[in-house]
Each structure stands twice: as structure tokens, then as C-alpha cells.
């Protein structure tokens, strides 16, 4: 077992400190240490994007980042996306447009989409398809996901 290292991170607005094994992956820190199991592991090699979270506002595949690398960062996971009881427009969009089936890729897909809409609040269909190309979904064929992100973009533009 490798040595433990202290880290302090802000996760979903709450400061967290822990001693973690140097090799502990960020995704396992979130899932095992903090019980934030909404972030999923789909491939271990950063191709599928199920583990996507926002680290300092940028979408990051948490299966290929060590927890110690996130020391000092602000992290947002799917659990921290809604504003209290009010769903984030992306969550609402995925629900309205049937943007999910088994739901396993969904948290990572939504976090990637959140980053996409930050960078480009009014993406075209093609830009959405490119923007989520780091995230695999096996159920939906992506079309309803594209609709969901468009739905969210329109709602965010109105507010």
C-alpha cells in the first residue's frame, strides 16, 4: 500500500479534507469516501465519460485523475447540480426529452453538457454532437440527448 496524502477539496459547495492513498482515483474518492455514487465508472480508460465531473468548472473524467491531483479544487458532481429542489435545466431537459434509458451514462453526459453550454450557450446540433463525443451512451442513439441539451439551452437562454 502506498503512503497517504492529505487533500482538501470543495465538493458541491462543501469543503472536505481527507488522508487518501496517493493512487486513489478521484472517482473512487467521490464514490467510496464521500458516498457520491451518482458518478459512475464505465471504462477505466477515459473513453466513455460516465465518470465526468466538473473540476474548477471544466469537465473532467474522474477515473483518470488521482484524488491528490484535485487537491485545492472545486468539484461539482451530478448530486450538486440541482438548485435545492429545483432541477438544473439540463436535468429537466433530459427528463422532458427522454434523454436517458438505463441512466448509467446520464450523470457524466449531463456534466459534459453543462461544460458545453458554459462554453457555447446556443450550440447547433452538430456542435452538440461534437461536444458530447467524449461520452458514450449505448441506449439512446443520442438523438434524445441532443434534444435534451437543446431544450436546456433554450431554457437557460430565457432565464
Amino acid at each position: 500500500m502506498s503512503e497517504s496524502v492529505p487533500i482538501t477539496v470543495n465538493v458541491n459547495g462543501r469543503e472536505r479534507s481527507a488522508m487518501v492513498e496517493a493512487r486513489l482515483l478521484l472517482v473512487h474518492y467521490l464514490r467510496e469516501n464521500l458516498n457520491l455514487t451518482g458518478t459512475h465508472v464505465g471504462c477505466d480508460t477515459s473513453q466513455c465519460g460516465a465518470c465526468t465531473v466538473l473540476v474548477d468548472g471544466r469537465s473532467t473524467k474522474s477515473c483518470t485523475v488521482f484524488a491528490v491531483q484535485a487537491d485545492g479544487s472545486e468539484i461539482q458532481t451530478i448530486e450538486g447540480l440541482a438548485d435545492g429542489d429545483e432541477l438544473h435545466p439540463l436535468q429537466d431537459g433530459f427528463w422532458e426529452e427522454h434523454g436517458l434509458q438505463c441512466g448509467y451514462c446520464t450523470p457524466g453526459m449531463i456534466m459534459s453538457a453543462a461544460n458545453l453550454l458554459q462554453d457555447n450557450p446556443a450550440p447547433s446540433e452538430e456542435e452538440i454532437r461534437e461536444g458530447i463525443s467524449g461520452n458514450l451512451c449505448r441506449c439512446t442513439g443520442y438523438q434524445h440527448i441532443v434534444n435534451a441539451i437543446q431544450h436546456a439551452a433554450e431554457r437557460m437562454a430565457q432565464s
Binding site: E21, H28, H40, F94, G103, T140, G141
Partner: protein
Amino acid sequence: MTTVDGPVLPKLIGERVKRREDPRLIQGQATYVDDIKLPGMLHLAFKRSDIAHGVIRSIDTSAAAAMEGVELVITGAELAETLGPMPIGTPFPAPDHYSVATDKVRYVGEPVAVVVAEDRYLARDAADAIEVEYDELPAVVDPEAAMEAGSATLHEGFERNIAVESYWGGTGVNPETAQPEDDSAVDAAFAEADVVVSQRMLNQRLAPNAMEPRGVVAQYEPGREYLTVWSATQNPHILRTLVAAMMGLGEHQVRAVAPEVGGGFGCKINIYGEEYVAAALSRMVKAPVKWIEDRTEAFLTTTHGRDLLGYIDLAAKNDGTILGLKARIIADIGAYEVLLTAMIPTLTGLMMNGVYRLPVVRHELTEVFTNKTPTDAYRGAGRPEGLYFLERAVDMLARELDMDPAELRRKNFIPTDEFPFATQGGLIYDSGNYEPCLDKALDVAGWQEMLAERDAARAEGRIVGVGLSFYVEVCGLGPSAVVPTGGWEHSGVTVERGGKVTATTGASPHGQGNETTFAQMLADHFSIPLEDITILHGDTSVVKQGIGTFGSRSQAVGGAALISAAGKAGDKMKQFAAALLSEHEVAPEDLVFEDGRIQVAGAPEVSKTFAEVADFAYIPVPLPPGMEPGLSEESFFEPENNTYPFGCHISMVEVDRETGEPKLVKMVAVDDCGNVINPLIVDGQVHGGLAQGIGQAMFEEVVYDEDGQPVTASFMDYVMPRAADLPTFELDNTVTPTPVNPLGAKGVGEAGTIGSTPCVVNAAVDALAPFGVTHIEMPLRPERLWRLIQENGGQS
């Protein structure tokens, strides 16, 4: 007519109702297997073979066992004292297959030893510390070479690696023996043909790749002698049956739970060695244990799909009348037979009648062992392969005869007035109405405009093609006579105190949205709000009986069981209501459910609320004569036949002349799955199926090298369709209800996967037809297309 106060409830069947599953899934609050944590839980890791074929000479577990935090290290030979060979669900002869290899390994990834440790990282460290020595044997990789004398063999007693030999079907074949008796009519048909098209085609090996890998948590409670297994499975009741048998327990001692399951696509039907091992080791170490598959393990050990080689011959007259079909099929089933392995390829020949009135059909199947991961069901499971072979051959015939592929198909369709239709393979197609579906697809796609667009593009020097396919598939599996797991489904419906409804279904979903569609059906049945209904599934301690979700059976079989149970509960409820309305001298059969009330039809003033009647059922004072208290009913439903959905897919493909890269620019799907409960969910099922079918046509392939080493064991090497690879799909439908269940629903889960694959390949072949190309093997790799262009000097 008098009215009463209260909401008027909309009918929900046929409406695009938002899914009730979604709030937990979009907020990260769902519980998948890997989210389960039990006190004292230990973690498993498997040491797996890194060679394809060899005899285990020695296993040194000492370093692993000495690691702090390692509870147990156990080899396959040691485990075999506890766990016997794994059961299969088909009647075909099969070699012994242990959860963990005992003396010989037969594919890369086959487990040879298991570690139990305090945490997941440590378990993996310890597994890596196990040293295994093998005497390597030659790898058997090519299924045709595997059958030749002199090939290395995988299993004793299976000469020339043949698992199933010359399994025949079709015209003049005895279905009991699967051997031909008098099939001379087939040869006669071919002898009188004006034209015969013949093609060897590979329907390549695929990895199902549910986004959630497999996983299991097992907890054996020694004092209770009771086992609970949580698993990412499509069928917890089958899991319970088989785990109980393997553990020497009765089903009354096992609870199996499918929690949230992140996709299945057929690969989570099989009950795997890891599930048995987790159960056995939990009992051994007296602690709950967890195993979660990583993606590389998924590529190596989760069952693969397809991998059928077909030699196809199609005979016709010059006017396009098809005279007969011959198919010789070789299935590369990998190293072992698991739950349904040997059965899946039998569906291929069976479905090769397609939508056509074929006078004669002959199919012959041979299944072969190779040093590869075992195959089993993958979305469509045997039907996509058959329809691919057939729809490619029909397209080749159209090209040979210079006929429009739509008109050739139309000419040979089974006429609508011939349903129910008996195929040459012995199936009875329940219902069908193919021409309106074809016409609608041609209209929606703008077929004539597409042809003109293609020709115009060609005139500009672009490489563009259009493709069409027309499929029929078999869904709604039952009845029990043809489904090895049993072909029924079970449901329970309880009207609770207060008038809310809890229902259970054995159709255990993993993305299909049964919590929504089943609630829609009950909402309409009882005329109560959707919010007043809960659908429970996936837990054998809650759902009394069940089979599971596969073969597009949730609605057609599970939904029918639900409606049957609801009917029983509703009939009893009307009896209670009649008792409450006794001063009006109301008979139960005069009562209807309407807007939250139970009322005399057309007379809402003579009514009780749904809740009042529910409450009375549980405190029935006085108890109506001859009645038992309570409102909880259950039903088993077994259909008399399968259902046969169908559809027409149309696509356009453009190929880059310089790079050979194909682009799917248009994809139209007009499907007929009978009556639709929720069009939003049906659209989603079709979309997902299309993506997977297109994935097979264009991108996906499991590749082994000559040593049996998998070279596509991660998402870096195995190409999954991504959002930017796909066009916006254009969907439409026709509705031809089935008579075999009361819903008229046929099933839709696999439709998209079946029609799209030949459709897209047909379009690619059409694109390259000016270069003299008549067939292209899947996937449509740019390099493959580029070579075909170059072979013709790059000139069309």
C-alpha cells in the same frame, strides 16, 4: 347526464408520458450494484488467463495470500470442490464449464484464481501477485479451420471442435430431428431458377457493452442459511434458480435482486461464473463480498454476440419472383456454451423466411468452439444475423436483375390476407401488413428523390448510395414450449388501503421504462392518477415469480400478465363496490372505473370513490357473503405464440473518395410493433436499436489475432458509435396489432438493431456499385472501402 366533482383523468395509453424512473437517475440517486455497501463487505478480484489456450501447470498464490488485508486466495481446482460445472439452458450437448478454470484455459480472460480482500485496490494487487505457469497449446481461432482434421481441439468429446453439427431447418426437414427427410423440392427450385445469387458473408463478432459493466454483491447469512445476491442482471428469477442449484440451496433460501441495472442488451441474461463464485465465497468467508467488472474484463469475459458466417444462395426467376433460399451457417461460439449460447444461432435460420413468400428454404447450422469469449444473446440474438443475410441477398438479387429493391421486395411479400402465415421453418407469423409499411417508408424517406439525389451526386463525382431493408423479427418470447427459461411472465396487483396501487412485474427492466408504461396501463385500467401507482420489480422477495426482460417481451408478455392481474383485482373491487352500493341494487358487472370512482356506467351519482372501496376491502364490515377480504391478485400470462413485428429501413451513405470514410447521411425507420403504450419510449427504443445496428454495419468488431489474443479489449480499440457518427433519425410507424395478447403490442426492443444493419450495408454497396462492388464485409472500415475504390483504379 349528472356529473360529480373531481378531476377528469386523461387516458394515458398511447401518450408520450415522461418517465417516472428519471428523477432518481438524473440526480445521481439511483442504486446500481456498485453503489451497494454492506457492513464488513470484502472485495473480489479474479486472476485471469493471459493466453488463449493452455494447460495450467502451476499456480503460486503464496505472495498474494501473504499480503496484509487479503482474506482468501483460492484456485479453480480448489473452488471446484464447492462449485460444480455451470448449468446451461439449452438441450444441446455441452462440455463441463467451471466458474474458474480447473486444469485448462480456453480463452484470454478465463479466470484461474480468485482473491478476497479488504478493499478493491488491494484485491487487484493480490490477484496481480498470483503466478501462473501454463503449457501453451495452439490457439483455435478460425471456425472453418477449427473443423478440419488436424486442428487443435478445445474439449474432449467434441471432435473437430464441433458443438452442434448439421442442425437443419426449413422445407422437408423433420423439426424433431433437425434432419432433412425429403428436401428435394429445394434442389428442384434452384434447378428451375433463371438466376441465383450466392455470397459468403460474415456477421461479425460484437461486444454488447452495456455502459454499466457487470457486478455482483453476495451476502450469505450463516445463521439463517439464507443467501442474497444483488446482480446487474436482466433476470433475477433465473439468477435465483441457478444460484440456488449451484449452492445446493432451495429457492426458498435465495433472494436475488436486480437493483438499478445500467443496460443489458442480452449480455446480462447469462448467469456468470462470477455470480456463483461470489455466492460461494461469501458463504466460505462468512462476509458479504462484492465484485465489479472493469471494462477490459467486460471485453474479455462478458458474452459476445453474433459471429456467424453465412453461405447464402437465393434463387429467382427473371421477373423477380423468388424461388428459394439456401443458407449454410457456421457459428463461432467461442470456448464454452453458456446459458443460451447454442440456441441463439438456431434463430438465424428460423427467421430467414423474412417477409417473403418463399416456396422453399433450406438452412443448415454448425456451431464451432474456438479459443474466444463465449457468445450468447446480443440485442436481436440470432435474428439480426438471419435478416442481414437475407436482406443482403435480396439486395444483390435486385442489383442482378436491375430491379428497384423496394419493388422486388413488394413483389415477394407475404400478402396481408395470408396471415397467420406458416413459414417454411415452422413458425406462424401472427399478423402482418407489409405493403403499407413499405409505402410509408418510401414516402417518408422520399425514395424517388433520394435516387435522384444519388444520381446527381454521382454526376458530380461523389460516391453516394441508397439502401433499403425490410425485416420481420420474433418477439414476445413465450410460449414455454420454445423458451428454455419458461415463456410466461408474472405480475401482482395490490390495491392498497387508501386506494393506491402497488404492482409487481417479473419483467425486470434495465432502461426499458416499465415503471412508466406499466403504470400507464394501470392508470387507465383503474382510472386513477399515475402518481397513485408504484411498479416494483427486480427483487425476488418482492416479485413472487418472473422470467425477465429479453427478446422484446416486457410489454407483450409482462404487460399482458399485468393487465390480467389488474383485471382480477378490479373484478373483486367491483364486488366490494356493489356491496357498498347495495341500496341501489347494483350488480358488479354494471360498474366501471371512472375518474377515481367506481360507478354505474353512465350514472356517476351512483358511485363510491376508489379509496372508499379499497378501504372497505380491508375492513369489510359486513364481509359480503362468499368473499375474502383484501385486494391483492396475481397472474401468470403465457402467450400462445410469439409476435412478429416488422419494419422498413432506408438509408443514404456517402463515401469519401480520398479516404474511404463512409458517412451515414440519412436514416429512416418505419417500424410496426403493434399497439404502442408510450410512443416516446418506443422512439427511444428504436433510436437505440438503430445506433447499435449502425454500429455493427459501420464501426464495431471484436478482433482476435492468430494467437487468440483479443486486440479490441478497450474502448480505444473497439469502436462504439458516438453522437457525431450518427445522423438525426427519421421515424414513423404503422400499427398492426397482434392477436396473441390482449394489448395487441408486439415488442420493439430489438427492431432497430435488425433492420438498420443490412440497410446501411446495402447503401454502402450501392455507393460502390459503380466500382463493380457487389458485397462489402462489415464493419464498413474506411480502409476497406478505400481499397475497394483503389482496386478499380479509383474510377467509377
